[in-house]
Amino acid sequence: MTLTPSRRGLWLRVLDLPAVRRNDGLRSFLVATWLGWQIESNWADPFLFAIYSVVRPLASVMILVVMYSVITQGAFSQPIFPYIYLGNALYILVGQIITGVSWAIIDDREHYRVAKHLYTAPISGYTYLFGRGVARLIIGTISVGITVGFGMAVFKLPIRPAAIDWPLLLASTALGVAALAGLGLIIGAWTMTMARHFWSVGEAVSGAMYLFTGAIFPIDILPAWLRWIGFIFPVTYWLEAARRALLGPGAAGFTTFAAFSNAALLGILAAFTAALLIGSVFFYRWALDNAKEKGLLDMESGY
């Protein structure tokens, strides 16, 4: 998929706007968003890319559906089923954003070998990485929508658009995505300072959160000495708030967060988000200096 002349013209006009030209951060963000989208999508025609984008998340959720179905003989009306299904569907965004930024570092450094060109250009590295994560966010959002729609159509998930608490859903998702972006930036910056196993860092964090945040089973199922881990991740609060918004009273029945009001969930999530976004700015600066000190910024390990 390449830009047609008219689209390219539009894009160049956007980049030529005085507000964009004057602002390194905004310009870097917009260009990186476009670049990220091209890298993610232009290896195939749009139809094949669309299939690719939905097959993995659908297969992932279907594994859980079959596991559930084998044990319960298809009792999809039980409250635990939408809990599992929605948690797994929403978690697609977590994986995409958390790993997306660190993969941008790996791609630029190891695969395309352009890290040195990037960091000698007049760009804002921080907003550049943000932009590279946006393409994954777009793909993830589409995948979540299709997965949830599939669940509503095939498994009769008890979600009715008219009954959704839209303000809670939008506010929690905006905060959740921003928190994930902050976390993704921190992991991406950490990746810059690594010479080994940088492939695994994003997946390790994403995998840990899958287990501890109540994404696919209530935290109460974990051994008591592990449950506290779930409470230190913003994803836990976002998933709970999003489930409440989508399922309404049907989300109740699991006691972990029964004592938390919606406002309390949003408040905690907002605090996490602010801390992660501010922390990511400082961590990025430290990681960049560290990578330069150690000569890792443009290292091609072939590892």
């Binding site: 084998v70 995998g207 209530p218």
Partner: protein
């Protein structure tokens, strides 16, 4: 005296070239060596490449607990989780490997060396198998201890035979994919990504494959791990006679046929790839 490179130094300092079967063996060993020995030199993989699968397996075990599944299902998840190590190794360290070798400039070195390419592929497979077997064993042991999984093995020799034939068929498939993915170029990355969760689903990594229905289970049997895992599950959890999709004997026979087909197809595809690659100048061209 035999040098580390496999050539023999005779009296008088003349080097006797390895040819034929000896060259094949030395090439195979040379390609397998870094994969097997590398793991002992850089031990940090113990943390990254066993912790991640353990987390994944734990997730599936806790789901089974959340829906109050019988205890043996935790064992299914543990066994399936351990076997994912082999599938991931085949996808990322076999199927995609020649493409990455081309990207890094190694493929042209393989091609201009006297060693046969089939031996290079077999070396990749042997090295990968040894390395991954270590990881899978650690995952199996750790998860079994963590989740108190108990096994009731029907026949150890048959279990070993099923595992061995499954691995030959699986890595034969990986060798075939290596040529196919090299032709796919940049799409190889996406193909490997695409063949993770859908294969876990169709092949019944975390539940008995018969739950997918006869049609899907039959179609998925082209992936050796489908029947291999089903047969191993029947042999390891022998308490449930209704578990399997087909009998162990039938599954073993099909796996043996798949092994022969995949190895033959890999040899053919590799020869064809090399011929077309030389003709079109694509063996050293890195832009796609």
């Amino acid at each position: 005296m035999t040098t580390s490179l496999g050539s023999s130094v005779q009296d008088g300092g003349r080097v006797r070239k390895a040819t034929g079967a000896r060259l094949f063996w030395y090439t195979l060993w040379a390609r397998a060596y870094p994969r097997m020995v590398g793991a002992t030199r850089e031990r940090s993989w113990l943390f990254f490449e066993t912790l991640l699968p353990v987390l994944g397996v734990a997730g599936y075990v806790f789901i089974y607990r959340a829906i109050q599944a019988p205890p043996e299902y935790a064992g299914f998840a543990v066994l399936g989780g351990a076997m994912t190590a082999f599938w991931l190794n085949v996808l990322w360290s076999m199927a995609s490997q020649l493409y990455w070798d081309k990207d890094q400039g190694n493929l042209e070195l393989y091609v201009v060396s006297p060693g046969p390419m089939m031996a290079v592929l077999l070396g990749m497979a042997v090295g990968g198998l040894v390395m991954t077997a270590t990881r899978a064993t650690i995952i199996l042991v750790v998860c079994s201890l963590l989740f108190h999984v108990t096994y009731q093995i029907a026949s150890v020799p048959l279990l070993i035979l099923v595992f061995a034939v499954t691995m030959i068929a699986l890595y034969g498939m990986g060798m075939l994919f290596a040529s196919v993915f090299l032709v796919a170029g940049r799409e190889a990355w996406h193909l490997s990504n695409l063949m993770q969760e859908p294969i876990y689903l169709a092949s019944g990594f975390y539940f008995p494959v018969k739950a997918m229905g006869a049609f899907v289970a039959t179609a998925a049997s082209i992936i050796p791990l489908t029947l291999g895992l089903d047969a191993m599950r029947q042999l390891i959890f022998a308490g449930d006679p209704t578990l399997g999709f087909l009998s162990v004997q039938v599954e073993l026979s099909v796996l043996a046929v798949l092994a022969v087909i995949f190895l033959a197809a890999a040899a053919f595809a590799l020869a064809r790839l090399e011929e077309v690659g030389r003709r079109e100048g694509r063996l050293i061209e890195r832009r796609r």
